[in-house]
Subunit: 311 residues, 2 copies
Amino acid sequence: MPLSEFSLITRFFRQKKVNNPFTQLGIGDDCALLSIPEGYSLAVTTDTMVENVHFFADADPEQLGHKLLAVNLSDLASMGAKPVSVMLALTLPHIDKNWLSAFSKGFLALAEQYSVDLIGGDTTSGPLTLTVQAMGLVPKNKALLRSAAKPGDFIYVTGFLGDAGLGLKIKQGYPCKKPHLALERFNKPNPQVAAGMELIEVAAACIDISDGLASDLGHILEQSSVGACLDWDALPLSGSVVDYINETGDWTMPLTAGDDYELCFTISEDKALTLTGSYTKIGVIEESLGLRLSKAGIIQPFSNRGYEHFS
Amino acid sequence: MPLSEFSLITRFFRQKKVNNPFTQLGIGDDCALLSIPEGYSLAVTTDTMVENVHFFADADPEQLGHKLLAVNLSDLASMGAKPVSVMLALTLPHIDKNWLSAFSKGFLALAEQYSVDLIGGDTTSGPLTLTVQAMGLVPKNKALLRSAAKPGDFIYVTGFLGDAGLGLKIKQGYPCKKPHLALERFNKPNPQVAAGMELIEVAAACIDISDGLASDLGHILEQSSVGACLDWDALPLSGSVVDYINETGDWTMPLTAGDDYELCFTISEDKALTLTGSYTKIGVIEESLGLRLSKAGIIQPFSNRGYEHFS
């Protein structure tokens, strides 16, 4: 029996219950309807993943479902928003029930974890392309913006840097002795939603590290009209990443590799004293434009950029 | 010089000004921020168009930009929502500046017409796939739903039926004597935004005709648990569509062809008296389930469905 568009959505993507009180109308009409509480703004973001560009053709579909949602929730996290709803636009070359079942399992499990409602979408036939639009709530005029960094701010990151980059190298053949954590970080990143919501009261600028720390911090610098100096020796690196650097000499990898989905934020010196989460100070915002790197006591300009499409 | 993702968006898609007061933050950060006025719900929809599935590889990019936005605004129109913001996810095989320039011209001209802000998006490399998410405002608890049709309601449509279907036939080689209007309707549909906003006070159920009248009315019937009888002789048909039917005998085309983007709505008999726009009554909602068609005095079940992906 052919699966119609509607039964496809019903069968694989309809959630058991409405998870949050902001969904007035979910899947099944021309539009979904959201109720936005007074005193909040709606934060909206979209990210696309394309086969053979963002993921390998043999990618595990359950991990892919998780990752597609995670990268979108990560954008909400970087503004300090609480995720509430997502739309899913699926372009599929054919109907593979096993693939769809696993993909939706990974997607909906992460949605459930954050009480996010899948409120609508579109399914079309064509080359495998996955687009999510995610929506979240943020108290009015409190969102963490790229443009809010000030000279003297400290620069912090959540978690560790470069593990996802190492995961990609492992997928490409690098012989890592302890590959599990790096592969897990590459395949199944965790969006830093709780950190973003905690930081909204104290941080200045914030961005998620999707294209690499140097590139993403670069957006903060550009939009805040400031510069920065990073301390390479302060970067939070896992044992596997340290081993990788020692073996290959590729010490820029944690600065340039994408897919970490940690947050990079700036915060004034006095507010930094109030931080309670496990954040690592990695540098300072300066008036002088551009990005500099301090490594083994030597300060040099650093211009390596992360991955950019078409460039 | 390679065009980075950011400069691509800046160069081709940044609008000259913020068009509406609901945009707090537009393109350039991890998320856009929207302010939703009290007493309103946010209506959200997404539609994808894929090369060689929804449009021909040689499609005029300016018309394509218009149509991509139009089909999304049409979904907002069917709920009675006022469009305010859109996100654009573009997957492009390569950077073709002429194509992008024309595509964005068509897209932004229609956005301007409705004071819609392009507030964000994503550009990725891959097979040509275009996804829009559109957002609109609708007074709380006033949205026109598919599930609100009642036995005795009259069934109306806006505009004419089958012109876009005829346009597709012309593209496929049908020798139409007056092809201009049909091709215009196929290539550059007008979303019925004003009609939707007018109907919100009087109509019961509403849907936009994207997959064909029979198929889309079928969604109203299913979700309202009712049936309907359509009067074929009352269908609003253009001269070219009448000629096509006379020449080919294909009288079901206006009922089954997609891409019209007119609205089909139901309305109680007394409220129908208050209608002032140019709407055409084409049938009546009945208790008995299923869709029936009255043609030349004979009533028969009608089960032809419009285009469905994968079916």
